[in-house]
Each structure stands twice: as C-alpha cells, then as structure tokens.
C-alpha cells in the first residue's frame, strides 16, 4: 500500500515538473500564433491587436498560472486557432492513433513473440543465423520505406493486389467500422513488422537469459522437454520483462507512428502535434504534450504495479526494505 502511495506521490510531482518544463520550453520557440493568424499581408498593429485579444501580451508567469489553474480543474483549454477544446481535439486524433497502435502492437506480438521463442529455442547454427537475419532485417526497415512497399503491394488503385486503402481515414470515422479498420490495416502492418522485430529480439534475449540460467535445466530435470521448459517456465519467468517492454513500446509508439500517419494521411496525434507546433498554437501543444507525458507516466505506473503482481519476489523485497527503513 505504501508502495502504491509513494508511486502516486511521485506521479504528481513528475506531472508538476513536466508542466513547468513544457510551458517554458515552448516559449523558447520563435514566432507566435498571432503572427501566424495575421499572415504575410498584415501590418504589425494587426499582430499586436491579435496578441492582446488572445492574451499573449500578459506576463508569462500569469499565463502559466492561468493554464495550471485550469489544468487542476481538468480543463485543458481551448485551441486559439481551431476554437475547439483541446480535449475534444485530442480525443478525435486519439481515435485514430490508439486503434492504430493497438492493431500494430497485436501484429507485432503475433510476429515477435513466437519468433522470439523459436529463436531462443533454436540450437542449430543455421537456424540461429536465419532468426538473427530475420530480426535484423525486420528492425532495419525504415518505417517510411516499408509503408511505401506495402502501398505498392496492397494499395487500392496503385498496388499489385490493390485491396486496401492507402491513405486517409473515413470522414465518418468509427461510424463505419469496416472502412475505418481497413484504412488502418496497411499502416498497422508497417508498424507491426518493425515493432515485431524489436519484440522478437527482446523475447529472445529475455528467454535466453533464463535458458542460460539453472531454471530450465531444473525444469528439464523434472521431466520437461527443453521446449516445454522454455515455453512454460522460461516464458513465465520472462513475463515481467515482457510486460515492461510491451508497455513502454506502446507509449513510444504514440509519437513513433507519426511517420506512418503522415505517409498514410491519417489525422492522428503525431501529425496533429506537428501541425500545432508549426502553427505555434501553444495552448494546444502544451495540453497535448502534458497529456502524452501523463499517459507515459501512467503506463510506467501500471507496468510497475503489474510487475509486483507478476513477480512476488519484488513485493517481498520491497516490503523488507520498508521495514528496515
């Protein structure tokens, strides 16, 4: 319990630090949203007038406190440019990015974990070399190139086997689940292959560690075959590590899939963030970054808690520390 409380406290402190860092760093960027709104045909007075209207002429600490005060009330503010609430805006973009990540991660796990297990089990020199080659090739494909290749293979209207949409997200969104899912298929596959290769390496090395340790031999001496021992004992032992890797990969992918979103013209979080930075819509950017950071921390928290649930030894040692402290 104390562990959970301590982690939560840390979570809040980290959020506070992030809010300061995000706010301060964005103010270093040259240019502001008023100039972007005014464009290249407006006199300087027009920019000044817009700055005043938008409250950009107030001292920075006041703007920061203003923003923070609203944050505490759960209000991320309204974009100066689009006039929509940041929460709605992020929600709409997350409705593209999160399904894409989940789909990509599922594909990655389907590819990576079995291959990783097989690689850990492989003993022949040739088969090991093959697995290594597969993981290197999979990991070395640039997302952009892989995506283009997939478009050339499967893109409707352009591909050899033109069956899937190669760009865009239906304007009807998830109201037409089939079309929405189809538009995410190629992007998810391009992400999945690359992330799958890295998951494969993680799985292999995590399992490899236990294969080298005494656990497997112990299990085998109890009568399991090597395959059984690795899959039943090794995989179970590697589980906490795998959970961390998958959790962190998930968080990483939020911004990592940006290149793919751009290539497939998907209106997701990554492309949205870049547009907002470009327009110097700082209220929106800081809200989005803050949410992403909070999400990152939250995943870390969940992973930590999952660790303790999966590995009783952690709990025992942590409790022991607490007693001695």
């Amino acid at each position: 319990m104390r562990f959970v409380l301590r982690r939560l406290l840390l979570f809040v402190v980290a959020l506070l630090a992030i809010s300061v860092a995000v706010f301060a760093m964005l103010r270093i960027l040259p240019g502001d949203v008023a100039a972007v709104m005014a464009g290249v045909n407006s006199p300087p007075e027009r920019v000044a007038q817009l700055r005043a209207e938008l409250g950009l002429d107030r001292p920075l600490p006041v703007q920061y406190l203003d923003w923070c005060g609203a944050l505490v009330r759960g209000d991320f503010g309204t974009s100066m440019l689009t006039g929509r609430s940041i929460t709605t805006q992020v929600g709409a973009r997350a409705a593209v990015t999160f399904p894409l990540i989940i789909l990509g991660l599922v594909i990655a796990m389907l590819i990576g974990i079995p291959l990783g297990c097989a690689a850990a089990l492989a003993r022949g020199r040739r088969s090991r070399a093959i697995y290594r080659l597969v993981s290197i090739i999979g990991g070395a494909i640039p997302a952009l190139w892989g995506g283009m290749l997939l478009i050339l293979l499967f893109g409707r209207g352009v591909g050899l086997l033109g069956v899937l949409p190669s760009q865009g997200f239906p304007t009807s969104g998830w109201g037409t689940p089939g079309a929405a899912l189809a538009s995410l298929a190629l992007p998810a596959l391009s992400v999945g292959v690359i992330v799958g290769a890295s998951l494969m390496r993680y799985t292999r090395s995590a399992l490899g560690e236990f294969v080298a340790s005494g656990y497997i031999e112990m299990a085998m001496s109890c009568g399991m075959t090597r395959t059984q021992a690795v899959l039943h004992v090794g995989l179970r032992l590697a589980m906490p590590q795998m959970v961390s890797v998958v959790g962190l990969t998930f968080a990483e992918m939020i911004t990592g899939v940006m290149v793919i979103e751009n290539l497939f013209a998907l209106p997701g979080l990554g492309t949205g963030l870049v547009t907002d930075v470009g327009n110097r819509d700082l209220i929106a950017v800081q809200g989005e970054l803050f949410m992403l950071a909070a999400f990152f921390l939250l995943i870390g928290l969940v992973v930590d808690l999952a660790h303790r649930a999966l590995d009783p030894r952690l709990k025992a040692s942590a409790d022991g520390n607490e007693v001695s402290a």
């Binding site: 960027l29 006039g83 590819i111 291959l115 088969s127 290539l263 497939f264």
Partner: protein, 542 residues
C-alpha cells in the same frame, strides 16, 4: 522419472528423437536426446507467424465495406483533394488563402466576385455605378436574398459587415484604402464613399473585404459558417477535411449542381496522388507536376491541365542587408539564376516571370529580358563588388519548409558558379514569419506570394523587402488614384519595370497550378483555383 516422460501427457514428449548429443549440457544421453529441438521447428514457427499475419490481413479485408458500385450517371457526391488546409473557418480573423479558396463564393458571398480571368463580376450586387470623381460607388443589390439560416440579406447586412471590418480591423481591412463611409440608401441600395479614388476598390471588394455576414446570427465563426452562398459547411475537421452540402434555400442562380462536396487536405504529395488513383478523390488541385505523369498518360480516365494563377515565387534580397544592399550583388544574382532550369526541374508547367506583376494582374508586361541568364555578366558584377569564385561571398537564404528543399539546393549550386556561398536554412513557417517578415533579419528569402493585385508590397518601405524607391511609391499612388483603367494599367506597368530594374528580388517563376481530375468531372475551375474556388458548377458523371 526421466524414463517415463509420458506422464506429462505430451504426445511428442515420448517420441524418441535421434540426435547428436554434442552441444548439450547433460551427461544423460536419454535427456540430451530430448533436449535437441526438431530441425523443422524454426520453419514451423515462421510459417505460424506468417499465417497469423496473413489471417489478420485477410480478416480485415473480409470485413471491409466494399464501395458498392454505383450505376453510371450523375453522382450526388464528389470528393476533391487540396493541399493547404485551414485551421479554422474564421475568415474575418484568420489569414491564409486556404480560407478564401473554400469559403468565398461557396459559403460566403461578396458584393462582387471575380471570374476565372480575374475580372470583377456581379454577385450580391447586381450592378454598381462609380461617380465621375471616383469617390462614390453605388451598389444595387439583388432582391430576395437570404442567408442559410433563413434571415433576409439586405443593405443593412452589407453596411454592418463592411463597417465592422473597418472598425475592428479584421484581416485585410487595410486593403480597403481611402475608405470614408458606407450607408444604406434603401434596403437594396448601398453607397460607399472614399476620401480619395481607389482604382483597386472593386477588385478588393471581390475578396474578403466585400464579404457580407448576417448581422443577427450568432455562431462560433471558428467552427461554423453561416453565409448566403450555394453551399453549407456541415462538417469541418481542422487540417483534415471539410464537408459541404448544397444550400436548399439558395437565393441565386449559382445553385449547387452536386449535393455533397467533400474537401480533403493532403500534406503528402504521394498520398494525394494515391487518393486520385484509387478513386477516393475525383479531383486533385494542385497535383505535383512531377507526379502527374501517370494521369497525363492515362487520357482515357484522367485529364490533367495547368491553369494560370498569380503565384509568384519571390526570392527577395534584403534591401537593408549588409551585402544585399549593394545593387551589383543583387543584379549578379539575377543574372546567375537559370530560370529555365528551375522550371524544367519542376515539370515544366510554370511560366517565367521577370517582374512583380503576373500575367493575370493589371499592369503586366513581359520583363524576362531585363535579366537574362548570363553567368559572365554576373561574374563581372561580382568581381566589381569584390568577390569571385576564389573569394566567395557567404549569404543566407531562409525560407519556409512548405516549399521543399529542392529549390534551395538548386539556387545554391547555381549561385556557387558566381562565387556566392549560399547557406540555405529551411525553417517552419512561423519561424520565417518571426525572422524575416517581422524582424527583417535575412539576406535572401523565398516565398510564394500567391495574392493577386499585391503590388502595394513594393510601394511600402516598411514591408519586409526593405525596398524604398519614392518613384515607385509615387507611381503606385497615382495608379490607385487613377479613375481610368487604362491609365492605371500604364502607371503600374511603369512602376513594375522600375522595380524589376532595381532588382530588389528575383522572380523565380509564376507557379501554374496543375489540376488533375477523373474524366466525367465537369466545371472545376482550372485558373486561380488556389485563391478562390467556386464549386457550384461542379458535377461528376461516371
């Protein structure tokens, strides 16, 4: 125990496998025999993974709603692909031609409008009269006009809209030069008075300044639009798409021919081309000239056409810059640039442009012979200024990343020949606004000035060009005050020639927008479609 592995219930576990025990850890041969994994295993796993991946793809394909093939005939929905996306719909505050392009003539209407040759034509005003001294304009409005919310559109709305523009200094308000007052004579007549003549007034009123808004309507202008035009905005996603539906109660004779027009915005040129090829969009404007080949070759299904426009790629030389204030260096740069090469590398559709006025604007004259491509002349001028290939001059070119990196690279290699070491900095548009437009801290800058009738930039010494020539300013003032169009054009022509001779910039080319559409699409404007894009006449049969 090892003798009886069948207790685990695994069929394979009891199968003895013959294998060499060479690399196994145990000393027990029978255990080592089982340790060895079957040789076929790695392939089995790869096959399983591949089947799983394939199953996902097939599964997704299977649940795709295939677009039901429609019977041939008039379609009630068209999707068009454009490039620059608006971030909001607030046409009174937000700059950028993306808003003019999609809202003017479709959702909002002005007192007057522009046709595809950039000439002023009637819109809300059926006719108008200019007094002999050029100070009073009387507009006679159409009768029976309504906004999309049902409100009547009359002289009060016109007066209110223009008065608000001036009072609140909305975007572009300063181009309504010499404005004195606007009054409603009766519900269908409006009188606009000027302090001094403004020969550009009517043309200005065909843009944002002349738009008429409903003074009684309350709506969030950033996300909604209530106008009097043939289309309504029914869905707007910032930076992504706009859905327009025909206004069922449209008052005029520009009623929409197609019920629904969806506009999608593509930042990635390849994605845009794929969208046209797959039939997700029926029109693409602009299509990158270098990617348009596949459509140009397929005349059975597509039409590709370049249209005239007023996009001027201006390579500005800072008039107050340390080195660029030296006219010899500016002239040398102009001689050194090979415009034909630039145009050819972009696909060849663009037109050469020798001065500040493009062919669709008043006062145009072909000035390309003023600074022909002449490296020797450029070298001589550079030597006079004290520089040469052995003693290069370092200059900095800053421009926004929307124009890509190719142009900067080409300019760097062309200028390297005459001893200019060009440092190219490609930055975000907002950074450019800060460095170049606001702070005027640059040597060279590159922008596509796509506005029409924008010669005033050269007559304003405060503009970021830092170009200050009283003769040009005087000629431009005279042109504005001219009450006769021929006089105005002649004055502008003279001013433009002086500007070009002074070489405050090089005009790389007049960008001609290439539009591609699926055959069966009719009525999509090809000229000037990036500044105003009236869609009422658009239809698609296929």
């Amino acid at each position: 125990m090892a003798e009886n592995p069948g207790a685990h219930g695994q069929a394979g576990a009891t199968t003895p496998i013959s294998a060499s025990p060479s690399e196994t850890a145990s000393t027990d041969d029978s255990l080592n025999a089982r340790v060895k994994t079957p040789r076929k295993r790695p392939w089995t796993w790869i096959v399983i993974a591949a089947i799983a991946a394939a199953a996902i793809i097939i599964g997704i394909v299977a649940i795709v709603n295939w677009p039901a093939s429609q019977p041939a005939g008039q379609r009630d929905s068209i999707t068009i692909g454009l490039k620059l996306a608006p971030t909001n719909l607030d046409i009174r505050n937000q700059s950028g031609s993306a808003l003019d392009q999609i809202l003017i003539g479709n959702v909002y209407e002005g007192l007057v409008a522009r046709d595809e040759n950039n000439q002023v034509v009637p819109a809300l005003a059926a006719s108008w009269k200019e007094s002999a001294d050029g100070l009073t304009y009387t507009f006679h409005l159409n009768e029976g006009m309504t906004f999309s919310n049902g409100d009547e559109l009359n002289a009060d709305d016109v007066v209110w809209s223009i008065q608000e523009l001036v009072d609140k200094q909305y975007h572009d308000a300063d181009s309504l030069a010499n404005f004195e007052s606007i009054t409603a004579v009766d519900p269908h007549t409006v009188e606009l008075r000027l302090t001094k003549p403004n020969s550009n007034l009517l043309w200005t009123l065909a843009g944002r300044c002349g738009l008429v808004f409903d003074k009684d309507a309350e709506y969030d202008a950033k996300t909604e639009a209530i106008g009097s035009g043939p289309y309504l905005v029914t869905d707007f996603r910032a930076n992504d798409s706009i859905t327009l539906k025909a206004n069922p109660d449209y008052w005029g004779d520009h009623a929409a021919k197609t019920q629904t027009v969806v506009i999608r915005y593509f930042t990635d040129d390849n994605a845009a081309v794929n969208a046209l090829a797959s039939g997700d969009v029926q029109v693409l404007a602009p299509v990158s000239e270098n990617l348009a080949g596949q459509f140009a070759d397929d005349t059975e299904h597509y039409t590709v056409q370049a249209g005239d426009g007023t996009d001027k790629y201006v390579l500005a030389f800072n008039g107050a810059g340390e080195h660029t204030s030296d006219s010899r260096i500016r002239q040398a740069i102009r001689y050194a640039i090979d415009h034909e090469e630039l145009i050819a590398s972009r696909g060849g559709a663009d037109a050469p442009l020798g001065g500040p006025i493009p062919s669709l604007d008043p006062g145009y004259e072909d000035l390309t012979d003023l600074y022909p491509h002449d490296v020797d002349k450029a070298l001589a001028l550079m030597e006079e200024a004290g520089y040469g290939p052995d003693n290069p001059l370092t200059l900095r070119l800053e421009y926004a990343n929307t124009y890509g990196t190719d142009l900067g690279d080409q300019l760097r290699s062309q200028l390297a020949e005459i001893g200019i070491d060009l440092k190219v900095e490609v930055v975000e548009f907002s950074t450019w606004l800060q460095d170049v437009y606001t702070n005027k801290d640059y040597d060279l800058s590159l922008v596509d000035h796509n506005e029409s009738h924008d010669f005033y930039q050269w007559a304003d010494p405060e503009y970021y060009y830092n170009y200050d020539n009283p003769e040009v300013q005087d000629l431009y003032a005279q042109a504005l005050a001219a009450t006769d169009d021929a006089d105005r054009d002649e004055l502008l022509r003279r001013a433009a020639r002086i500007v070009s001779e002074d070489a405050p910039a090089d005009w790389l080319f007049n960008y001609r927008i290439t539009t591609a559409w699926a055959n069966g699409v009719e009525g999509f404007p090809v000229n000037l479609n990036q500044t105003q894009l009236p869609l009422w006449n658009l239809s698609y049969e296929g």
